[in-house]
């Protein structure tokens, strides 16, 4: 990841959602993007230009666009029609984004389009987040990384975020080993980033 004077940026010169341009680079805002927040909290994720990424829960494509600035290609999966429209117009401008409209709880619907990737990034507002991560294990390359942004409030609105996170970590155990659990405060409330590697 590229830092300019302590500011996280991505290598693109065209502003997408009005973010600042710093010496020909797009400023990557940790308050808007959980991956940027994770980097600001000391867990930088390596994004070499050869990387292939599967992004579950792409939404309007803010984080997708920054990742796409760095890597070879991003498979961006999103279910909701309105954000998908924004994602499609983003993909029209960037040749390395493959927009996929589908339900992450049913990977069979879009599996014939996906290849194995080096990084799975999951940011899905579903009560079944661990299940979704497990179902996509098959798409992770040997030695690849899963970054699971646990939205604890989507799993249980009242429970303690740490308890929910422990529950998710436990449910992942058969296919992923959790290397780090990072609370995303103060950038994102009640979110925990799990940095994982595939088991076996």
């Amino acid at each position: 990841m590229i830092w300019l004077d302590g500011v996280l940026v991505s290598p693109g010169s065209r502003s997408l959602h009005g973010e600042r341009i710093l010496r020909g680079h797009r400023v990557w805002d940790p308050y808007r993007s959980k991956l940027a927040a994770l980097a600001h909290l000391g867990h930088e994720v390596d994004l070499p230009s050869s990387l292939r990424v599967l992004y579950l829960g792409a939404a309007h494509g803010t984080t997708v666009s920054h990742i796409a600035d760095y890597v070879e290609c991003v498979y961006a999966v999103e279910i909701a029609p309105r954000p998908m429209q924004d994602l499609l117009s983003l993909a029209r401008q960037r040749e390395n984004i493959v927009p996929v409209m589908g339900d992450a709880t049913r990977p069979g619907e879009y599996a014939p389009f996906l290849e194995r990737v080096d990084l799975i990034y999951q940011d899905v507002a579903s009560p079944r987040q661990a299940e979704i991560a497990a179902a996509h294990r098959v798409f992770l390359e040997e030695g690849g990384t899963l970054i699971l942004m646990v939205k604890t409030r989507s799993i249980d609105a009242t429970a303690d975020p740490d308890a929910v996170t422990r529950q998710v970590t436990g449910a992942l155990a058969s296919c992923y080993r959790v290397k780090a659990v990072v609370p995303l405060e103060p950038y994102h409330r009640d979110h925990r980033a799990l940095v994982c590697e595939g088991v076996k």
């Binding site: 029609p81 069979g108 599996a111």
Partner: protein, 289 residues
């Protein structure tokens, strides 16, 4: 390990042979849409197989064609989703809510403005103050003030037309819910649920408190009394019921609404027998017997 045939977007792969999928982008999209992929037996594709297959010349060509197919499929799904009547009805209800907010905001400010302009004693209080200021200024207002009045009138006209369209739309898309709680309330519930599909899946208890999010979460977090009603309060049977029976009426109504929403979603026609019994049940709850 025995290999089963793998079906990918560019063709069918069996060990090291590949049968290329024929046709243009639309044909490729149709083909995948008809798949039912079982994840247990699925092996992810390697893009080199598509080159072997003759579908793409190289990595760049592979991605370009793949993007065309997935984009086309996404566009189709979006069109299909928006083509259903509920998406349009939801936009109309939300516009209605925004118009109301906008009109009341402008009227409020108008009242303050007018107080400065005419600081005399308040006239007899009948209508709510901002509305009264607006009506009072009609005729004597000039310049920008007159233009503001004209816009508020414009908003009111738009609102009237919109209410008409929303109630007609609700009758068509939510015939049973509309019969139970009226078109406006039915459409607002639909808007809060997000889609007819989602609404039909909601349990009655959720329908009952839809629109009372703040109170519901306050209840879950702090144990304050749970909300008895959300949007449902707007229905006359609920807000006209005696205070101590409102909860019961809302609960009964919500239970019938949950059934009505399912009828609307999966059958789409009025069920007179159901409506008659639902009406009786709600009436009974209101009487408290």
């Amino acid at each position: 390990m025995r290999y089963s045939m793998q079906r990918y977007w560019f063709g069918d792969v069996m060990e090291d042979t590949c049968t290329r999928a024929e046709g243009d982008t639309a044909a490729l999209a149709d083909r995948v849409a008809a798949f039912s992929t079982k994840m247990e037996e699925f092996v992810p594709l390697r893009w080199e197989q598509a080159v072997l297959c003759g579908t793409a010349p190289d990595r760049a060509g592979y991605l370009a064609l793949l993007r065309q197919v997935t984009t086309l499929l996404a566009e189709r799904k979006i069109r299909a989703w928006y083509g259903r009547g509920d998406a349009l009805l939801i936009q109309k209800v939300r516009m209605l809510e925004d118009l109301d907010r906008a009109a009341s905001l402008v009227a409020e400010r108008f009242g303050e403005w007018d107080r400065v302009l005419h600081p005399g004693p308040a006239e007899e209080i009948r209508e709510p103050a901002p509305r009264r200021a607006l009506e009072g200024a009609r005729g004597r207002a000039e310049g920008a003030q007159a233009a503001v009045i004209a816009s508020v009138d414009g908003l009111a006209a738009a609102r009237a037309a919109l209410v008409e369209e929303v109630t007609t739309g609700a009758r068509e898309i939510l015939p049973n819910c509309t019969a139970l709680v009226g078109g406006l309330v039915a459409a607002r519930l639909l808007s809060a649920a997000g889609s007819l599909d989602a609404m039909a899946r909601l349990p009655a208890a959720s329908l009952q408190v839809l629109g009372a999010r703040a109170a519901l979460f306050a209840h879950l977090r702090t144990g304050s009394p749970p909300p008895k009603h959300g949007i449902l309060y707007q229905h006359h049977r609920v807000h006209n019921a005696p205070r101590n029976r409102r909860g019961k009426v809302a609960r009964t109504l919500a239970a019938r609404l949950a059934i009505a929403a399912r009828l609307d979603c999966y059958r789409g026609a009025r069920d007179e027998e159901f409506l008659k019994r639902a009406d009786e049940a709600v009436r009974r709850a209101g009487r408290g017997t």
